[in-house]
Amino acid sequence: MTTIRPSTLIPLLLLAALAVLPFAAESYYTAFFARVLIYAVAASALNLALGMGGMVSLGHALFLGLGMYSVALPAHFGIDDGWLQLALCVAACGLVGLVTGAISLRTSGIAFIMITLAFAQMGYFLVVSLKQFGGDDGLPIAGASRFFGLELASAEAVYGAAFCLLLALTAWVARLRVSPFGMTLRAGRQNARRVASVGLALPRYQLAAYVLSAVLCGLAGMLLANLNAYASPSSMSWMVSGELIVMVVLGGMGSVFGPLLGALAFLGIEELLKGLTEHWMAIFGLLILAVALLGKSGIAGLLARLDARVPARRSPRLAEGRA
């Protein structure tokens, strides 16, 4: 079998460090890294559609928001049963994902980007105008989601849930990438026409990936709502959709650990720059521009380059695409 290469080893070490972090760190850092983990889950969700399927969705904040309001709305009426909220989230994201995905996938290229953005804007304005549920100001969440005995009331509890979810998701994506479904999606990104001529009806697979991606993004939203004890339309704005794209690309499109690396780098750089200057966003904007200009193999791609330098014996299995 293969020896573990740096591109796998480094993210695994990172995950191990994240596993023990809440036991060692102050709760400020636990809350910060909980946010990182949640955005890593959201970016993982987007990675399915964007990284594997090549579907440039500029509207995934919609699903993040749907997830948040799946917690906030029931909580507003005193329902804190996490399972019920989860069912609501899955149903809402699945249904909205199915309808918007089916319409959006009729288009491609620029129009696909625009229509996903438009659907997200519709959701944004819908929430903003619902004044009885806070409208622009958002909706505070009095009672956290309750799953049997577990209550997602503290940053530590949310951290634990987000970590487990991310771990499961990452393990699954590692399998999914080389499964028939993942291979079909990735093939579609490379050459959509050819996928049809091998007998696979690509749009069905893309739609399934889009819906899956929507639901997973909703789960991240549920966690985020519990972490902030607050749901706000600003998490549904198109800027958030853009940030998710940046995380996916920064980490490495379609790679297994990319979303975690991307979310960590994005929020980490943001946090560092915030400490330097109040106008950190100007620097950050230029950094994003630089990432776009320099190409998009991302951090996972940089780590993969490290692999080539390590004098490990190259096994023939390397070529089978398990990055």
């Binding site: 399998r175 499964s179 093939a187 001529s197 007998g199 696979l200 697979y205 695409g321």
Partner: protein, 278 residues
């Protein structure tokens, strides 16, 4: 559901298995039949009422000068282009309104003139995906594609048949030009086709590479029904059982290589003053 539509003989035949099932020598059954197939782009008629019979087991070549509508015809047969008029029947079933993916699942496969393989995948992954797509849906989210034994067996057989066995683990982007063309063929073969549309499989190849492909096609003859569009006349006349000549979208004549070689109309219109090879 889609898998059920495959011809009855096909469970997961590797190219090797198919040999045993087809008797030597061709039957006279028509496998593919077109009637009045027409495609227009504005005023330009690219294929003009083409009616064609391809018999089971034959290698049928289509020749014609540039712009005769050969690739358009292939696109209409594979289902990539919808015909403006006319019908396509395949194995007794009317496929005129059927899309490319569904035709591929029925065993009507094609290779492309401009090589079109998945660059980021290995040779084996390319062929295995093609094999999988023709046999079963791909809604499988956990087990690896390369753990699908039937697909991998068909893929490996196709890779071996096209002479790529030693290159199975190479990423397609790293293949040479000739090798990519071989992979293109391997992907079509891995799908377990009943009928293969080959769009200029020798385009851009060196004489040496072309000779290898001729040998390969000779080996595929009788195992599959083949429709070959090719500019290399040596290859066409050496391989074809029957040849159809397409001129400005119209089917001029169909006949054996000898009949075509001696057809005065073909000589006048298609070949001009040029002497036919051989």
């Amino acid at each position: 559901m889609s898998a059920g539509a495959r011809p009855p003989e096909g469970g997961a035949p590797s190219p090797g298995e198919v040999v045993a099932q087809r008797p030597e020598g061709r039957t006279m059954n028509t496998l593919l039949h077109t009637e009045g197939l027409t495609k227009r782009y504005g005023a330009l008629v690219v294929t003009d009422a083409v009616s064609l019979d391809i018999r089971e087991g034959e290698l049928h070549a289509i020749i014609g000068p540039n712009g005769a509508g050969k690739t358009t015809l292939i696109n209409q047969l594979s289902g990539e282009l919808a015909a403006d008029a006319g019908r396509v029947r395949f194995a007794g079933e009317d496929l005129s309104a059927t899309g490319i993916a569904a035709r591929a699942r029925r065993g009507l496969l094609r290779s492309y003139q401009i090589t079109s393989v998945f660059d980021e995948f290995t040779v084996r992954e390319n062929a295995a995906l093609a094999a999988r797509g023709a046999r079963r849906h791909a809604f499988a989210f956990w087990r690896g594609l390369l753990q699908d034994a039937a697909a991998v067996a068909a893929a490996d057989a196709a890779i071996a048949a096209t002479g790529l066995a030693a290159r199975a683990q190479v990423i397609a982007a790293d293949l040479g030009y000739g090798e990519r063309r071989q992979l293109e063929l391997a992907m079509a073969l891995a799908a377990g086709p009943r009928f293969l549309l080959l769009d200029e499989p020798m385009a851009g190849m060196s004489a040496q590479e072309s000779a290898a492909v001729v040998e390969l096609l000779r080996g595929l003859k009788r195992k599959y029904t083949l429709l070959l569009v090719e500019h290399d006349m040596d290859a066409v006349f050496a391989l074809a059982d029957r040849i159809s000549v397409l001129v400005y979208g119209r089917l001029l004549v169909t006949g054996t290589p000898d009949e075509i070689r001696n057809d005065p109309e073909v000589r006048a219109i298609y070949l001009g003053d040029e002497e036919l090879h051989q």
